[in-house]
């Protein structure tokens, strides 16, 4: 290295070192002598240190420290991180994507659009093109995310509690099935829920073909057993019935809660409310409800008659007789039936008589006969081929399985979904029988009561995790596409399990569904058909065509004699939210207040005020309820509108192995339910218990105290006095203030809620919870009145406690222009936006709670503890990234979904235009089946919300307080039959 020689510096070491060569013979030799062995060692920088210059030292130290820091920057975290090396196409972080799929609700499909943030499904909305909901959604499809992300879902394949691999299962299967296969499958049984998936049906058929002696059982504890039995009796075949409420002027519900729960209720509620508001709300349909407990539909009725379960059959028979259909000649309900018959006959072909799914087959048969006599068939009542792949008498089917199991005739039992150990009729001894089965396999989302008793458990994929298909109420088929890879490796779909049985090693669900439809579609361009069907969320024109069905036999003879009144009658019905118990571990549904009682986390024993007084029960009295020697413990809830001398209980509670939320919530009414009395029984007995068991309700006070909360009147009164609402209102003039007037120049966001339309289905409440990351607080905190729902539906009763009228009032934030909350916040954590929103700045909030005290509607919710779960990983996936996750000590409230507003405003600004009407839908509005909630800019008079606010029925709740709410209500109208008043 010649350079080092050139600058003439000779290191001391070089000169004194004995190994160096101080002598040279020629210049080249000399250069070589002074060429260091390791050139870098003597480079300028290296040498400079020995110069010991303070400046050099400091600069080098600084440099090396900085470099050390840089190496720190390149350190990788110890945990596994996911490099985003190859970003998926078209994914922009922060921009959600939407996919159409279908959610199984009440055993049938509901079309949904799922919002996905970077591959995480975060919110479910209705599919606007799907006939089951037309864009709205039910509580169950809204809440399905809690099932997907449930941390208690089963994660591993288990054999007698020991984790196993999929391969190990298949080996075990081969071993167990070999002797059975030799007998053509005798001793091999499959138990499923009601199967409405064509692919799954085909698979089961294929399995049955492979094992001809095997049997397929179906059991759905809350399925339409009566409807099937009645269809067989009336038409001789198991037709599917659905109703078109949009063309029904008169609706008679015989114990059917068709607006708020049950099959197709989302669509029914929509159609019903459309018909209820025709011609500027002056042309209303009329709803008569005869029911055995107080339901959301009953509360909406223009005339409601509470009758015990068994009396409804007699009522139907009398009504049938009044309509000229063979029925009953007795005249116990003549006041009602005569008037009802006249009203129905005046609307032939434009009325509906709908029997409750849990009513007796006789009521269903009578309803078919009456609908036929009224000429409704094909107009408002549509019959189609059944939705099920194979309709069977499920009770008989399960009874046979239980009997065979107990007789030791079942060797291999494959249970796909369902939870029969928990919900089989109490007289079947299903659990004991299961213990005699050599190899029993249960596939389910949870390791539940049935999994505990089976030898094998296979975790099932959630419908958002794997492919599938299902039919909707009218037969429309949706292909279910997954939004996310299965969260747990052990999870398999029912399709995969059956496929593995058919052929080793089995295909993926995608292959199975696609193969089935490529054979079925009959379309030349299958790929295009497939893409369109998956994209749209439904297969075009796949609805089942109406069939001609005429009652072939006369209605059955009059019902049996009335039971003695002293005997208490009990009726069972699937829970509005828990359904048959499958949603027990869904915390959103657990904490969703029951529509009529506002109870959370529990079911209750419903008694009428009179019966409770007769039995000397206070509300929430803890009792032992026994029926034929079987008993359960529960608390009494005095329910206005419950028929006297009757008890109503809801199924689906009292699970003991469902997970952290469902275990121990409520009591298990299945313990009382036997196969001969599926829906009602007689002779209930009570025993008071000393241990108190409090029930957690979110609304302590269900009477309006004469206050103008819900303003209502009849449609006839409205026609005569169109301004009756304004006459009851006093709104102070706007200039009664010293403050200058504020002009909202840009947008002025506002909300209108139509009380006539609201049916109290609570879909909005849970949609709000899902959209806004609202925490679940648990029963103890609900008892302490700290439930966090930003939006609630208040249920009020009016009139005689035995036969009350119910009113529903959704209460979000009123977004007052003169907001009382803003004034009193000491740190300006709640402020008014230029668009009229009452904004809440969580980060600024110090938690004085003064704003809540000053809110007349008490819509503000406070994080008294750390309510939000900050640790459970799966729940983090669900959270909406557009909404802050609130911490302890902070106030929160409805924001009108400000994140959606901002998103639309930004989009509009980029496109240089105003936000269009309807472009922003609040979460509650989007979910609402009846379109009771309309959001928009009230500065533009052409907007829907402005038009609604200009209507005569518009009012502000407590306008006299002069808070100038942006949320306004449309007074409720009802359409009572004038004949009933005479």
């Amino acid at each position: 290295m010649s350079n080092s020689a050139n600058h003439g510096f000779v290191p001391i070491e070089a000169l004194t070192n004995s190994t160096a060569r101080p002598y040279w013979r020629n210049l080249a030799d000399r250069d070589a002598a002074f060429t260091p062995e390791e050139p870098e060692q003597f480079s300028e920088e290296g040498v400079a240190i020995s110069e010991a210059s303070r400046r050099r030292f400091l600069s080098l130290m600084a440099g090396s420290l900085a470099l050390a820091g840089l190496t720190g920057c390149t350190r990788q975290p110890v945990e596994t991180i996911m490099p985003y090396v190859e970003p998926p196409e078209n994914v922009i972080p922060g921009k959600p994507k939407y996919y159409a799929t279908a959610a199984p609700v009440n055993g049938i499909a509901e079309g949904v659009i799922v919002e996905s943030h970077l591959g995480r499904p975060t919110k479910v909305e209705g599919n606007p093109d799907h006939p089951a909901n037309f864009g709205a959604s039910s509580v169950h499809s809204q809440a399905c995310l809690m099932d997907l992300y449930d941390p208690d879902r089963s994660k591993d394949i288990l054999n007698l509690g020991v984790g196993q691999s999929w391969d190990a299962f298949q080996i075990a299967w081969e071993k167990a099935i070999a002797p059975v296969a030799a007998r053509h499958g005798a001793g091999f049984r499959i138990l499923t829920e009601t199967v409405v998936s064509p692919t799954l049906g085909a698979q089961i058929q294929a399995v049955l073909k492979k094992y001809p002696a095997a049997q397929w059982h179906q059991y759905d504890p809350a399925g339409p057993h009566s409807a099937r039995a009645a269809a067989m009796a009336t038409f001789g075949r198991p037709v599917n019935t659905y109703y078109k409420f949009d063309s029904a002027d008169v609706v008679v519900s015989l114990d059917a809660d068709f607006l708020a729960c049950g099959r197709a209720s989302t669509r029914y509620a929509r159609d019903f409310s459309l018909r209820r508001r025709r011609n500027g709300r002056t042309d209303m349909n009329r709803l008569y409800v005869i029911e055995s407990t107080m339901t959301a539909t009953g509360g909406k009725a223009d005339h409601r008659l509470p009758l015990r379960y068994s009396e409804i059959e007699r009522f139907a028979a009398e009504l049938a007789a009044a309509l000229g259909v063979p029925g009953s000649s007795s005249q116990n309900y003549q006041f009602w039936t005569s008037r009802l018959a006249r009203d129905l006959q005046a609307h032939k072909g434009a009325c509906v008589i709908i029997p409750g799914e849990h009513q007796s087959p006789a009521v269903h048969s009578l309803a078919h006969a009456m609908n036929a006599a009224l000429g409704n068939t094909g107009k408002t009542v549509i019959y189609t081929e059944p939705l099920e792949v194979q309709p069977v008498d499920q009770i008989a089917s399960l009874r046979q399985l239980a009997r065979d199991m107990n007789a030791g005739q079942v060797e291999v039992l494959l249970i796909l979904g369902g939870n029969p150990v928990y919900n089989a009729p109490a007289d079947f001894d299903f659990a004991q029988g299961l213990e005699r089965v050599k190899m029993s396999i249960h596939a389910g989302l949870h390791f539940d009561e049935t999994s505990l008793k089976t030898t094998w458990h296979i975790p099932e994929t959630h419908f958002l995790e794997d492919w599938g298909d299902a039919r909707a109420f009218d037969g429309t088929i949706s292909i279910i596409q997954p939004l996310i890879q299965p969260l747990y490796d052990g999870a398999h779909s029912q399709l995969q399990i059956l496929d593995a049985i058919l052929q080793f090693p089995g295909r993926t669900s995608y292959e199975i569904v696609r193969a089935y439809w490529s054979a079925q579609s009959g379309n030349k361009d299958f790929e295009q058909w497939w893409r369109k069907s998956v994209h749209d969320g439904l297969i075009a024109n796949s609805a089942l065509p109406p069939v001609n069905a005429a009652p072939k036999s006369a209605a059955p003879a009059a019902a049996s004699a009335a039971p003695a009144v002293e005997l208490l009658e009990i009726s069972f019905r699937p829970d509005v939210y828990m359904y048959d118990g499958r949603y027990a571990n869904n915390m959103w549904l657990q904490e969703l207040p029951h529509p009529m009682t506002k109870l959370t986390w529990d079911n209750a024993i419903y008694l009428s005020p009179k019966t409770a007084a007769r039995l000397h029960f206070d509300n929430q009295q803890h009792v032992e309820l026994s029926l034929n020697g079987r008993s359960v413990w529960g608390s009494v809830w005095i329910l206005p509108g419950q028929p006297d001398n009757s008890v109503a209980v809801e199924l689906g509670w009292g699970r003991w192995h469902s997970g952290r939320a469902g275990n121990g919530a409520g009591f298990n009414a299945y313990l009382l339910r036997t196969s001969d009395a599926l829906w009602a029984a007689n002779g209930v007995q009570f025993k008071k218990l000393d241990t108190p068991y409090p029930l957690a309700t979110t609304q302590m006070q269900q009477y309006m105290e004469g206050r103008k909360v819900v303003i209502e009147n009849t449609v006839d009164y409205y026609k005569k006095h169109p301004n009756f609402v304004a006459d009851t209102q006093y709104e102070p003039k706007e200039n009664l203030t010293l403050y200058p007037h504020w002009d909202y120049r840009g947008y002025a966001w506002a909300l209108s809620i139509d009380l006539t339309a609201c049916v109290n289905c609570q879909a909005c409440v849970i949609a709000c919870q899902a959209e806004n990351n609202i925490p679940v607080v648990g029963k103890e905190q609900v008892l302490a009145r700290r439930a966090m729902h930003w939006l609630r539906i208040d249920t009020y009763y009016k009139g005689v406690p035995g036969e009350p009228t119910a009113y529903y009032c959704p209460v979000p934030c009123m977004q007052c222009e003169n907001a009382p909350c803003e004034l009193v916040c000491p740190v300006q954590a709640t402020n008014h936006s230029s668009e009229g929103l009452n904004d809440m700045v969580y980060n600024r909030c110090i938690g004085t709670r003064y704003c809540s005290n000053n809110c007349p509607w008490k819509v503000r919710r406070f994080n008294f503890f750390l309510f939000q779960d900050w640790t459970t990983e799966t729940w983090k996936l669900q959270r909406n990234p557009d909404v802050s996750v609130r911490s302890r000590g902070v106030m929160e409230k409805c924001t009108y979904c400000v994140q959606r507003i901002r998103e639309a405003e930004i989009r509009a600004e980029v496109e240089d235009r105003y936000v269009r009407d309807g472009e922003i839908q609040t979460a509650c509005q989007q979910a609402c089946p009846t379109q009771a909630i309309v959001f928009g800019d009230k500065n533009n008079p052409d907007n829907r919300v402005s038009k609604l606010k200009a209507e005569n029925l518009n009012y502000h709740m407590y306008a006299e307080l002069n808070t100038r709410p942006r949320t306004s209500y449309l007074a409720e109208l009802r359409n009572p039959n004038p004949e009933f008043l005479s």
Binding site: R707, Y850, N863, F864
Partner: protein, 473 residues
């Protein structure tokens, strides 16, 4: 014939036994009192006399409760305000009730020390010191509650206007911000006034101290007071100035506290009568606390010659007067509701009287209106035991009154669907009684280590300090 002369023989004898003038027990200072005896009597409590068993018991009790207070606050900070019974709609519960109660109690001290000073009510001289101490400790207890009732107490200072990087300022329209100013001003002025008044007495303690350590401590605390005439001159004018500053606070602080409620639109809170109502209530409860403190201490330390029947009588009369103001307010509230005709106000009156928490209303009427009518009787006003009992009744009554105003109004406001009854938890009670413990502990430390009666000011009352040599009547 004066009222006093009508007193029965036994009572005259009792007064005489306690060194009082049996013919005129209402004299501000007992006849035998001299400069020397005053200094000796007061300073010996701190310096030489054996600490009485009463002190140990009271201090121990106070510390026991204080420990609970510390536990309760620790748990509160660890878990959140949810450990209390507050909920929606009752978002305020015991904490704000306690705050208003404590701050009200403080008012009597300021009234005695400042207001009465300006009014030349010389009888105040012998009770103003501990009344003022009571004020300071009560405000300290009061201040705990708005601080710890916050959901996020650790950022309480956001309520203060200070320059910060967020450029965020408090909302000056909020009465809670006014509260911060009112209470902090009140505390500052009270503390200064109290301490300044104590400086000459601290010098006396320094001079009489029995050990070097005590001498040093009291010496530092007395700021080199030598009793020079210019010291006295400046001291007097400083005291007068502070009294002038403190006097309006008697009226303003509780007025501002009442704004916490009146500014809100809640029925039961939104009322123009609240400022005088709250001030009267504050003085009412404050005098009750003064009596509840001074009666046992007077007995234990034998201070009958300095805290005479005159003091008891005067305090009782003030209680009676302010109690009547309260009674008037209680009567006028239903009237204005009826006259105003608002359905919400009418419902509130109904709810208070027969609602689920009607016990609170009727307890208030009983404790604050009915029982204190006993104060019309001279015998009740001048006898320590009945007066002590009435004072305790009023203290409890005033707490329940604040509870009624806050909780009973919140529980049933506009929208029936949100109605609910407040249920206190263990931790609610722990903080309430714990704060009493804090107060007792501080007060007992004050009694033990500081001159609880102003020696300097009592000396002013004696004949020798007056130009004519006449005794203060």
């Amino acid at each position: 014939m004066t009222v006093e002369e009508r007193a029965p023989i036994e009572e005259r004898q009792r007064h005489a036994d306690r060194g009082l003038d049996p013919n005129n027990p209402l004299r501000v200072v007992a006849p035998s009192t001299t400069f020397e005896t005053v200094s000796e009597q007061i300073s010996s409590i701190v310096l030489t006399r054996k600490v009485p068993l009463f002190w140990w018991c009271a201090f121990g009790f106070g510390v026991f409760l204080l420990i609970w207070f510390i536990i309760a606050i620790t748990w509160l900070l660890a878990k959140g305000v949810g450990i209390w019974g507050i909920e929606i709609p009752n978002a305020w519960g015991f904490a704000i009730t306690n705050f208003v109660w404590w701050i009200g109690i403080g008012h009597a001290g300021t009234l005695i020390s400042a207001f009465l000073l300006l009014l030349r009510q010389t009888w105040r001289n012998s009770i103003n010191r501990f009344a003022e101490a009571m004020t300071i400790f009560a405000v300290m207890c009061a201040g705990m509650f708005p601080l710890f009732h916050l959901g996020r107490a650790w950022i309480f200072y956001w309520i203060l206007p200070y320059p910060n990087t967020m450029t965020a300022q408090p909302n000056f329209r909020s009465p809670l911000v006014w509260d911060v100013f009112a209470v902090s001003t009140y505390f500052t002025i009270s503390l200064l006034f109290w301490y300044l008044g104590m400086v000459p007495d601290l010098a006396t303690l320094r001079d009489r101290a029995t050990s070097r350590f005590k001498k040093g401590v009291y010496g530092i605390m007395s700021f080199g007071w030598r009793g020079a005439s210019h010291h006295w001159k400046y001291h007097q004018s400083a005291c007068l100035l502070l009294a002038g500053l403190a006097t309006p606070l008697v009226l303003s602080v509780h007025t501002v506290v009442s704004f916490d409620f009146t500014i809100a639109i809640l029925p039961g809170w939104h009322s123009t009568i609240f400022p005088p109502y709250f001030v009267a209530g504050a003085i009412y409860s404050g005098f009750a606390m003064v009596l509840a403190l001074c009666i046992p201490i007077r007995a234990v330390y034998g201070l009958h010659n300095l805290i005479t029947v005159r003091h008891l009588n005067n305090c009782a009369k003030l209680m009676l007067a302010t109690g009547l103001v309260l009674a008037y307010t209680y009567a006028i509230e239903p009237f204005t509701s009826w006259y105003g005709g608002s359905e919400f106000e009418l419902a509130l009156v109904h709810n208070r009287a027969v609602g689920p928490q009607a016990w609170a209303y009727w307890l208030v009427i009983l404790l604050n209106v009915v029982i204190p009518q006993a104060l019309w009787f001279y015998k009740v006003r001048t006898r320590p035991v009945p007066l002590f009992l009435v004072s305790c009744v009023v203290l409890v009554g005033m707490w329940v009154e604040r509870y009624m105003i806050i909780v009973v109004s919140l529980g049933r406001d506009f929208l029936p669907s949100s109605w609910a009854n407040f249920v206190a938890t263990f931790w609610d009670n722990a903080t309430l009684y714990g704060s009493v413990g804090l107060f007792i502990t501080l007060f007992m430390l004050f009694v033990r280590y500081l001159p609880m009666i102003s020696m300097a000011e009592v000396r002013e009352l004696l004949p020798f300090s007056r130009p004519g040599g006449g005794t203060e009547k």
